[in-house]
């Protein structure tokens, strides 16, 4: 295999020796086909196989906003990219080493991303005149020199599949629908994957339809055998297990890890969890997942809209539950007034925004980081809320737990900013030992607390350290009280129009959030000689990290740090920033974090921005950063 991106195969450093089983360190595969072709499932299965084998991995699904755009068209192309390796990797990969193209549209849409020398596997059966015309090919690219830079495998997948499953008696149309499993079988052979899991998976998935299960299995095996037996696939590759930290791993997507984190927060706080939500891409899957865990005391409520979702969550919090709401950018906009109420009420609540391309409906299935300022400031009046962001799919679990810690300790709504790439991407996750998860238990108020000895309950009486107010839930005798959105007297909590009290309360709410304990930010600067610091937040962690590795491998020192806490910011951040000659902040927005840093620390942080609905590529950041590093070295 001609390895790409500076990675060389181990056994074959020059990529010449025509072996039958060759070792490589890492591979990026992209499955691409029509929305109806089942590419997400195929990618998912291959990912599971890689995970089961012990590779490190990262994935990037990409699908259209339409449920099913017209078959065979460019807008209808759906793809799934997977990066797996024998070492710890950071991104789903910039450019595929292998593209599986199930039809001409899939080929055309993805060709531009391939490096020279890549492998292309095409389903020739779909390269009909009609299909070619749909995407504007005059002549089949399989017959021109358009693919000459690539190694092309032409496979009649549809027909082979139909042949393989004929015995099941499915209709031709049903039979053909198994061709994605043929492709999976073929790729599984090429990369020497274990197949048991997939076979088991297929049997379970179609347990109600044994005929379909059988057909999928047959197709899968046919694909494998096709690789094994045909001449055209002279070589198979092997990617050894990665040497990750010891422990038991599983594969998680960001949304799954987030849902687990929320369930775990409920368990560790011993509070019921109430999720009030309204479906929206790419957040809906968190609702779907949470709905499965009623046995953990998790109530899910699909509300009539986003406002009702967050309102119900707040009502549940008032009643002593851990109220949660999940959404994406447009939904966050709608929730903003109610989040403001939660700020005034000083009740714990989690608001998870899985960011997507904006403004407005924007690019609903694409990723972006452009809701940071909305999260911080998208409410009337001074209404500070803590903001956290996971840096990778698996990190969603920890971030959810930490968000719950902050919400419960400080009695505040907390905003968690994930994004489409994190939500749908996946990676191996070192399964935590539950007994070692943080203890999140809280105590509810149970007795009068008025400092004047009046035996009254004052709902805005505070813990002097955290400034958190007491949480007295309905049903507690003697603590009857009223809360609301009007300004209230500190301590007593009654309505107050007093100017000085208002000023004091505004500052107090700010101080409470500013005072939240968040860990110092660690800096990765292996040789300690970097003069350039790269700082990011959220899902850009992977590509930034990969770019830094590449620079260092090229002998260019660069320091990296990554913010998981956006508000308040880590206490050492100012000092860290001032340590470097240059600070570069790559963001998938127009420079929102950079603005905050510049304002707060008066540091001339430079933005590098891309707002294209796709994650950064390690390569592009490598180029940007190498220019900066070379600049300061001059």
């Amino acid at each position: 295999m001609v390895a790409t991106n500076g990675q060389r195969t181990e056994s074959d450093p020059e990529g010449q020796q025509p072996d039958t089983l060759r070792k490589v360190n890492r591979v990026v595969i992209r499955f691409a086909g029509d929305s109806g072709d089942g590419m997400q499932l195929t990618g998912d299965r291959f990912t599971s196989e890689a995970a089961a084998f012990g590779n490190d991995l990262a994935t990037l699904p990409n699908y259209p906003a339409e449920i099913r755009a017209p078959a065979g068209t460019l807008p209808g192309v759906s793809s799934f990219q997977l990066h797996f390796a024998d070492y710890d990797i950071l991104t789903p990969g910039d450019r595929p080493d292998v593209l599986v193209a199930m039809n001409p549209a899939a080929l055309k849409a993805n060709l531009g991303d391939l490096p020279a020398g890549a492998t292309v596997v095409v389903n020739t059966d779909e390269f009909t005149k009609r299909n070619l015309k749909k995407v504007g090919y005059e002549q089949s690219p399989l017959e021109t020199d358009e693919l000459e830079r690539f190694t092309v495998h032409r496979v009649a997948m549809s027909e082979l599949t139909k042949g393989a499953v004929a015995e099941t008696g499915l209709t031709r149309k049903e039979a053909e629908r198994c061709k994605n499993m043929f492709a999976l079988g073929l790729l599984s052979w090429m990369y020497h994957r274990p197949t048991d899991n997939t076979e088991r998976f297929l049997r379970e998935k179609f347990s109600g339809k044994p005929q379909v299960a059988e057909a999928n299995l047959l197709a899968f095996r046919a694909g494998w055998n096709y690789g094994e037996t045909t001449e055209s696939f002279a070589v198979a590759y092997e990617v050894e297990p990665a040497s990750l930290p010891e422990g038991t791993y599983r594969q998680v997507t960001g949304n799954l890890a987030l849902a687990y984190g929320l369930v775990a927060a409920g368990q560790r706080s011993e509070l019921p969890v109430f999720l009030g939500s309204y479906p929206i891409t790419p957040a809906s899957d968190v609702l779907h997942e949470m709905a499965k865990h009623k046995n953990f005391g998790v109530t899910t409520f699909q509300a009539e809209d986003e406002i009702a979702g967050v309102g119900a969550a707040l009502g549940a919090s008032f009643g002593g539950s851990l109220g949660v709401t999940t959404t994406s950018g447009p939904g966050l906009a709608l929730k903003s007034e109610t989040i403001g109420l939660a700020v005034a009420l000083e009740l714990p609540m989690l608001i998870c925004d899985i960011q997507r391309g904006g403004p407005s409906t924007g690019l609903p299935t694409k990723t972006e980081q452009a809701d940071l300022l909305q999260a911080l400031y998208g409410r009337n009046g001074e209404s500070p809320v803590p903001v956290l962001a996971p840096r990778s799919p698996a990190d969603c679990f920890d971030i959810a737990m930490d968000a719950a810690r902050i919400a419960l300790t400080y009695r505040t709504p907390v905003l968690l900013l994930s994004d489409g790439a994190t939500a749908n991407g996946s990676e191996p996750w070192l399964i935590p030992d539950v007994s070692e998860l943080p203890d999140l238990r809280v105590s509810f108020a149970d007795s009068p607390n008025a400092p004047d000895g009046s035996e009254e309950f004052w709902p805005y009486q505070r813990d002097p350290r955290t400034l958190a107010r007491e949480w007295a839930v309905p049903g507690t005798p003697g603590l009857e009280h009223r809360v609301g959105g009007l300004e209230k007297l500190d301590g007593k909590g009654s309505i107050s129009y007093d100017p000085d009290n208002h000023d004091a309360m505004v500052r107090l709410r700010q101080r409470r959030i500013d005072g939240i304990e968040v860990p110092d930010v660690p800096v990765e600067d292996p040789d300690g000689d970097a003069r350039v610091l790269v700082l990011g937040w959220g899902s850009s962690y992977g590509p930034i990290g990969a770019a830094c590795r590449r620079l260092r491998a090229r002998g260019m020192p660069v320091a990296q740090t990554h913010l998981r806490h956006l508000n308040p910011m880590p206490g050492n951040l100012g000092e860290v920033l001032r340590r470097y000659d240059r600070v570069v902040v790559p963001e998938m927005n127009m420079g929102q974090l950079a603005m905050l840093l510049r304002s707060r620390y008066l540091v001339d942080a430079q933005s590098y921005t891309k707002v294209a609905g796709l994650p950064f590529q390690a390569e592009e950041l490598e180029n940007v950063l190498s220019d900066v590093v070379q600049g300061v070295e001059l």
Partner: protein
């Protein structure tokens, strides 16, 4: 199962005073809200539930100040959203009696969607809709229940839209319990609240309420002794629908086309009188009654239009949790571990 099943019983006898908070009541003199407040404070003790298990949630508006004046738990939330908050609270806390206080603007204008969804969903909450046919707190703009043509601050040339009939709207939204009453009739108000509290599921009580400042006298015809007798129908379950002064009784009959109309009792056959049945599954009966006189209050139908039991959202949601817990233990480690793992 009654509306209060699951709410712990009080172990003391309360009086209205026990439900009175230390907050000074700040409505305008003569505001109908005072009467409703007094009625609610006076009526709650008879429910025999713990005071601390009672919660009032309101939106924004004059009426929305209500929770401050009740010595129970309470939340004065934001405009129109009280039903959403009550939904989260009631779903997670079967031991609470949850009340929503809203106005014609709060509940029918900005909050209309939450209201109709709460009713259809049938969460165990009781909604008191203070209908003064005006925006009070913002000083006198027309509301979704104002008379057509009404001159207000925002409609100097007269308002244009057809008002909602809150009872019809609720019935169209699949409400299980819908009633209407008057701020000035304490006995009827109390009786209606009692029925609402006993109902398990979402209950809507529309309360005609006078706003002496911005819409004074909107319901005066129902306060004038004579006019009241001539107009006011009090529905009673199982009884024929009749009303009117001793000397000139009226009854509601169904005409040839199937429509309800008011007739002189003397001129109709008693057997043709419509008998009220609040428990009919078919909402058409209650709906037809709601169309008998509407905005013009002539006649004015009050009482319980419909009181039909069906499983509540919150009971079922909790049941799903219980069933899941019985089927699968809450083993967090097992959940996190899942089935496809590998060990390094």
């Amino acid at each position: 199962m009654g509306g209060l099943a699951g709410v712990p019983a009080a172990d003391e006898e309360y009086s209205a005073k026990d439900f009175t908070s230390d907050q000074e009541v700040r409505w305008c003199p003569g505001c109908g809200d005072y009467a409703v407040l007094a009625a609610v404070r006076g009526f709650l003790p008879e429910l025999g539930i713990k005071r601390e298990n009672t919660v009032f949630v309101s939106g924004i508006g004059c009426s929305a100040r209500f929770p401050y004046y009740m010595n129970t738990y309470g939340m004065h939330s934001i405009h129109g959203r009280a039903p959403t908050i009550a939904t989260g609270l009631a779903t997670t806390r079967p031991d609470l009696s949850v009340w929503v206080v809203t106005g014609d603007g709060d509940g029918l204008s900005i909050g209309g969607n939450h209201l109709i969804h709460a009713l259809r969903r049938n969460v165990n909450i009781t909604v008191l809709l203070f209908n003064n046919r005006i925006y009070g707190l913002t000083k006198g703009q027309y509301s979704p229940t104002s008379d057509q043509g009404m001159v207000t601050k925002s409609t100097p040339a007269g308002s244009l839209d057809t008002p909602f009939n809150p009872v019809s709207l609720a019935l169209g939204a699949e409400a299980g319990f819908v009633a209407r009453t008057l701020d000035s009739d304490r006995a009827h108000l109390t009786e209606t609240l009692r029925a609402a509290a006993q109902h398990r599921g979402s209950a809507l009580v529309e309360i005609y309420q006078n706003c002496p400042i911005f819409n004074d006298g909107a319901f005066d015809v129902l306060k004038d002794a004579d006019e009241k007798q001539r107009r006011l129908i009090q529905l009673r379950h199982g009884e024929p629908v009749t009303f009117g002064p001793e000397d000139e009784r009226f009854g509601v009959v169904r005409d040839e086309r199937g429509e309800l109309r008011v007739a002189k009792l003397a001129e109709v056959d008693e057997r043709d009188l419509v008998v009220h049945d609040a428990q009919r599954a078919d909402t058409s009966h209650a709906f037809a009654l709601s169309r008998l006189g509407g905005q013009d209050l002539d006649p004015t139908v009050t009482g319980v239009f419909r009181a039909v039991d069906r499983p509540t959202y919150d009971d079922q949601a909790r049941q799903q949790l219980d069933e899941a817990a019985q089927q699968r233990p809450a083993d967090l480690q097992q959940l996190l571990t899942g089935r496809d793992t590998w060990t390094i």
